[in-house]
Symmetry: C2
Subunit: 417 residues, 2 copies
């Protein structure tokens, strides 16, 4: 994989050029994307021309990046993974794309999303094993980074669309605190849940990129005192495979060996209740957000999403309001939990990447954290019995992204050691 931070620093120091880095990316795409199918829009001549521009004084210094095709770009088509929007040309870049360009990022291309960022599997293959799913909905962004086609990519998560594909593809996925990155200029599915996220090789790479985009200091800090990490037991742990349990135990042991104070915690009932209402909030909002598509483009929707949205339209405002209240109680309970620990460690996914392409896998271990809006990181370095990557998920406190990334980096180093 291409290390975003290292390459950006080399670009800034003039040890390499944007054009040289771009050619490395294009070579990887030429070599592998016919099989992986991570990219859905790429203008090689245009990006080569842009690479000749002046990136002096910028943090990313000409570093190439890719953008999930659920996000608007002014100079590349944006189809939201749906034939309804085939050839659609947005008028403007999404703010997050503007932030990346302003920071000296070089937009390489658009990466495949599932249909409207929902569950229908896309044509993308897992670069770790082409017979397996890359996960979804940010399939192309995770696969492009895993295949060494681009140093970082932007995706989105409404249920588990950043952390799950990151775990399946063996890349670092970072879902920042809700709205740390502006969720504008994208095809909304659920406005209380849709969250922009980043994919990179390692934790320091996504932290470096997030700092460059936002102007915030999210760089990795060493802890003065050993961080307290809670390994979380939930009502859903029975659905996690031996691979997932093994990875979580290995990560916890490694963190303890590296000096972290690791404690066992059980998810409080208020948070189990919040987990159960994620779908009510997501679907009530999706039925409104996608009303135009259901009303005017029924035949261009897949059966799965059309049926799902038609059922979603039956959710009552009262059920939605009650789900929002349960979510709020969950956020209070999570605040109390973070009085005991600095970070939580849990499963990134139920197992390694599923074989075949009938499903993008389950967001069951991610959706609660999307609803809570707190930062989460998929940590790489472990694998399952099938030899495929098996990530672990670190959950941080709302608004404390630097601490979450720093704790994730500690666990990542501990696993590597």
């Amino acid at each position: 994989m291409l290390k975003a931070r290292e390459i950006a620093l080399a670009l800034g120091a003039g040890r390499t050029t944007p054009r040289a880095v771009l050619e490395t990316c294009l070579a990887a795409i030429a070599a592998r994307d016919a099989d992986v199918r991570a990219f859905c829009a790429l203008d090689v001549a245009a990006v080569r021309a842009t690479a000749e521009g002046d990136f002096a004084g910028t943090a990313l210094a000409g570093l190439p990046f890719a953008v999930k095709d659920i996000i608007d770009t002014r100079d590349l088509p944006t189809a939201y993974g749906s034939p309804i929007f085939a050839g659609h040309r947005p008028r403007a870049d999404a703010p997050v794309v503007g932030q990346a360009r302003r920071a000296g990022g070089l937009l390489l291309g658009k990466t495949v999303t599932t249909e409207l960022a929902f569950l229908k599997p896309s044509e993308t293959r897992n670069p770790r094993r082409l017979t397996h799913s890359p996960g979804g909905s940010s399939s192309g962004s995770a696969a492009a980074v895993a295949a060494g086609m681009v140093p970082f990519a932007i995706g989105t998560q409404t249920g588990g669309s950043v952390i799950r594909p990151a775990s399946y593809c063996g890349v670092t996925g970072y879902k920042p605190t809700y709205r740390l990155l502006p969720a504008l200029g994208m095809k909304t599915f659920s406005w209380h849940l849709d969250t922009m996220g980043l994919f990179g090789a390692g934790v320091e790479d996504v932290a470096f990129v997030a700092s460059a985009l936002t102007g915030r200091d999210l760089s990795i800090e060493r802890f003065g005192t050993a961080p307290r990490i809670g390994v979380l037991a939930t009502a859903r742990d029975g659905a996690a495979s031996a691979d997932a349990h093994g990875a979580l135990s290995a990560a916890a042991r490694a963190a303890a060996a590296a000096g972290a104070r690791v404690v066992a915690l059980t998810l409080p009932p208020e948070l189990e209740a919040a987990d159960a209402v994620h779908g009510t909030i997501q679907d009530f909002e999706a039925a409104l957000a996608l009303m135009d598509e259901v009303t005017h483009h029924r035949d261009l929707l897949s059966d799965g999403i059309r049926t799902h949205l038609e059922q979603a339209a039956a959710i009552t405002p009262e059920a939605y309001d009650e789900a929002r209240r349960i979510g709020k109680r969950g956020r209070h309970a999570l605040g109390d939990l973070f009085g005991q620990v600095d970070a939580l460690l849990t499963f990134s996914a139920p197992g390694t990447a599923p074989e075949g392409f009938s499903s993008t896998g389950s967001p069951m271990f991610n959706r609660l954290w999307t609803l809570m809006g707190c930062p989460t990181v998929n940590i790489t370095g472990l694998s399952g019995a099938d030899g495929l990557p098996m990530g672990v998920q670190l959950v941080g406190r709302f608004g404390r992204d630097q601490a979450a990334l720093s704790a994730a980096a500690l666990v990542e180093r501990a696993i590597a050691a």
Copy 2:
């Protein structure tokens, strides 16, 4: 003015037809819009054809409505009040437009917004006195309802863009609880503040329309026990004119005479502090939301908004985060305040509509409530020494829109009595 509820009930009962109501609207537009300039897009032939459709079983039953041109419509151009978007044709209706059509609303046309819903005065005139400002940024929506051109209109508020023009034009303006109406498919200025709102003749009209759009019961209830209404003193009251003070006192006296328990309250320091940081949150987000326009369309922005956004880009994430924390403390203090009263009564605007067109007036008495996200209603029926309308603003508890509308209806009835 056209009474939305009465007309919708007459339509539902077959006592009139959508075409007949539409022709009444079109006649008012033909008679007055050359002077008022409320509409910026109107397709008479198309809307006449649509009026012949079947609205059976819908709540609005073919009731015409207008939409602020900051909101996307699939069959009318949407320019966001900016030459950057001249002739722009969105791919989809905004969800709130979809909700209105689903409820049997007949989209009559698009109404003038100020440039990107900011402060630059538009070409719209105040139908109550053409030499005066209709306010902004929902200038056309307020003016169209005031001039009897349409029974209801949709607008948006980020500072005071619903309540202020409603007060100046003498119409009821209703800013629902944050996100009660989905703020999607619109040109975002500030995602924590932008709020969809409604304009109508009276409180029962906006309550009826809001119920039809959302499927929630927001109809006016009579209070079992006399409601407690707090008349609010704030640090900004010195900026309110004698007209504004007179209207607030008259409304309070009328409410008391109607049996409400009226008490004097002073805005707590936590809420004064929150009022002071509205601009920091709005502008930090606007600099991101409108980055593409500033970067790629500088010359098509007015000097005022360009300068404002360039200065806004200098607001640090730390200043923004602190402003968000101050806003959160304000929401807690407001919750305590609503332990003492059912509703608050305050100024809708510093005075009656300003003469001339150098300014759209000040949102100084509205911005705090937009930041708090709580429902607010401009109540009509009073006027200033110049004979122009002078509204009063009722503020309700977050998420308690039916109670807020019911309290506003009580005050409205009391003023009329």
